[in-house]
Symmetry: C2
Subunit: 155 residues, 2 copies
């Protein structure tokens, strides 16, 4: 049994879960870039404007990390998640520029029990991250493992 709201059984194909909003500051973009991706367009306003990104732009990996926080806050926080084996085909479709407000949603595409791990199933999601103009900035497919309600201990 589990006291979590979201277990494998609750994540039916077609289910859509919305993300909350996240406004991205220049300071956050620069702090992430200094630590992980110090390319000029992620560190400096002028270099960003001179680049094909058109402004001080978040590292794509920073966008992924911010998306992960949105996914966590939206439902993983109260789920039986056991982690993920990877990412299928993530696309950074538009730059995330300082001052942008991100939002979006995830949709369950499919799910199946894992033969190799009794009591755990794999749920594949299509994640969509949008900006304040409703434009898609990032999309990806991503399978996540969840314990089943019937057998799941609290994760």
């Amino acid at each position: 049994m589990t006291d979590k709201k979201w277990a494998f059984e609750d994540l039916e194909p077609g289910l859509t879960i919305p993300f909350g909003e996240k406004t991205v500051s220049a300071e956050e973009i620069i702090a992430f870039a200094r630590q992980f991706d110090a390319q000029p367009m992620h560190l400096d306003e002028e270099a960003g404007k001179a680049s094909i990104l058109g402004g001080l732009a978040a590292s794509g990996w920073h966008s992924c990390a911010m998306f992960m926080r949105m996914l966590y806050d939206a439902f993983l926080i109260d789920s039986t998640s056991q982690g993920s084996p990877g990412i299928t085909d993530a696309r950074w479709k538009r730059p995330v520029i300082a001052g942008d407000t991100l939002s979006g949603q995830t949709t369950v595409l499919e799910r199946r029990p894992l033969k190799s791990r009794p009591g755990i199933g794999l749920v594949t999601f299509r994640h969509l991250v949008t900006n304040q103009r409703g434009e898609t900035v990032m999309e990806m497919e991503n399978p996540i493992m969840f314990r089943m309600r019937a057998t799941g201990a609290a994760a």
Copy 2:
């Protein structure tokens, strides 16, 4: 012209560039998790040991961010990189546990000029991240845009 070491023309298919070593501390794993992925197995030693990851394990997105730093230090720092449109098929194959030392390499798979962006070409890499036992912890394919030497301004 560019004064960078690595432009589109220099990244020939088959070229392999090694990464330096990065040892991952528990403090780093917890700090990243608090900000971006607060699942118990990324925040707490005991929860990590109780999970299928087997120990205090870095968020997969933290592994991606650390890999990005290794890629940057290995050659992007002195390149005409213009950013990337996305990630193809990234796999988190083994957990990254506190105390692990990451290393690895990237290999150029293919490259082509971009018709839509004169003077810029797309180079597809296969990135491989390994641990201190030589096990693969992460692998992915990832296209990155580079200015050409012939026409490239300093990025």
